[in-house]
Amino acid sequence: MATFPFELVSPEKLLFSGQVQEVGVPGSEGDFGVMAGHAPFIATLRPGILTIHADGGAKRLFVRGGFAEVNPTGLTVLAERAVPVEEIKPEMLRQLIKDAQEDIAGAGHSGAGRSAAAALRLGVRYRPVRSEK
């Protein structure tokens, strides 16, 4: 299967760089998959799970805030926060839910409210899974 270069960058460090087969990105207007030869494309991110399909299998990371850029040389995702799903801790989700609730309460315009609501849904969805462990 054709591969293409992919980079996941957060302000603090470069999290992933290498050849991949497919990346599933949570876009603010819907999730989308990027494969080799995708058309040039820029989309903002919604808080969600980013999935990387490479030779070693799938890798899942939680991303929040930022954007994805597809250009002829590959895909770059810039996320303000990116954490591998395995490293997500219950406290982090609780914080996320709290932040999101505050954001919704104080949301001045629809964009911020929508993003916060998405974060809230995500946090709530993952909470029970984590607490059972």
């Binding site: 820029i42 903002t44 850029e69």
Partner: protein
């Protein structure tokens, strides 16, 4: 002439000081390396952000609905100077340099009849600016409690600035920090944050599809970009601070070494003079018998 005991005490005290400055130098060197890696790790993000925003901004024609962060308020009356300094001293002229640079800019702006306000990050710059501009400092962000600088710190600062901008408190925001060139050279730098400026890139205008549309992406990314710029400035500053501290402490250690040498010389000379004097006293006493 100081007594022997006094001299001995002074040498011991200088030696103790030298040990401290030496230790501080080594700590600064270790921290500098970490700060440098952090600054380097942050670079790709800032560069990509800049590239994409530059691309977007060049395609947008300024109109009534262009985000104000990019277009500005159309006025140039009220300036906010965001001055980033360190929380600790003992770092040579690091803070003084940044503050002097910002102060000169402030005087130049005030001479043109503009309204200047300060937003301080870091205690040291605040202390220095407070003396000359006691009524013009609007806020101080204290990062003393922060162990490792994170993106969240920059986000906090950016949010505060944007809140003030939206409240119409200023038209132009300029960021002052120290650019880390090398251990011995840190350059105070000014960067305009609002309205945002981007380097125009020639060519390489691949046509992108946007989702959502360009305007919305721009509105979403501009505030984030502000945080990224502040974060970069903070990291550069941190590296510069440790570089500056390292060379300052290196100087101090060397000075202490010289002082010890000089004092030891005086000490030995005095000691010998004492011995000679005592011998003369004994001999002349014996002869008198």
């Amino acid at each position: 002439m100081a007594s022997l005991k006094e001299l001995r005490n002074r040498i011991a005290s200088v030696k103790a000081t030298q040990k401290i400055t030496k230790a501080m130098q080594m700590v600064a060197a270790a921290k500098l390396r970490r700060a440098q890696t952090m600054a380097e790790a942050a670079r790709p993000f800032a560069e990509r952000m800049d590239a994409v925003l530059g691309n977007l901004a060049s395609g947008v024609t300024v109109s009534a609905d262009t985000p104000l962060l990019l277009a500005g308020t159309g006025k140039d009356e009220k300036h906010l100077l965001l001055v980033c300094t360190s929380e600790r001293g003992l770092c040579g002229a690091f803070n003084t340099q940044i503050v002097r640079f910002a102060r000169e800019r402030a005087y130049a702006l005030m001479a043109q009849g503009k309204d200047v306000k300060f937003f301080c990050v870091g205690r040291k710059g605040y202390d220095q600016l407070r003396r000359t501009f006691p009524n013009q400092i609007v806020e101080l962000v204290d990062l003393r409690a922060v162990r490792t600088l994170g993106f969240v710190n920059a986000q906090d600062i950016a949010e505060k600035i944007i809140a003030r901008f939206n409240a119409g408190e200023f038209d132009v925001c300029t960021l002052f920090f120290s650019h880390f060139k090398s251990v011995i050279s840190q350059i105070p730098t000014a960067q305009q944050l609002i309205p945002a400026t981007f380097e125009e890139k020639a060519g390489e205008a691949s046509t992108y599809d946007y989702e959502p549309d360009e305007g919305e992406i721009l509105a979403d990314l501009l505030p984030r970009n502000l945080a990224v710029q502040v974060f970069r400035a903070l990291l550069e500053n941190q590296a510069s601070f440790y570089g500056s501290q390292m060379s300052a402490m290196d100087n101090a250690t060397r000075n202490a070494g010289e002082m010890i040498k000089k004092q030891t010389l005086i000490y030995n000379r005095t000691r010998q003079a004492m011995i000679t004097k005592e011998l003369i006293e004994i001999i002349s006493g014996a002869e008198a018998l």
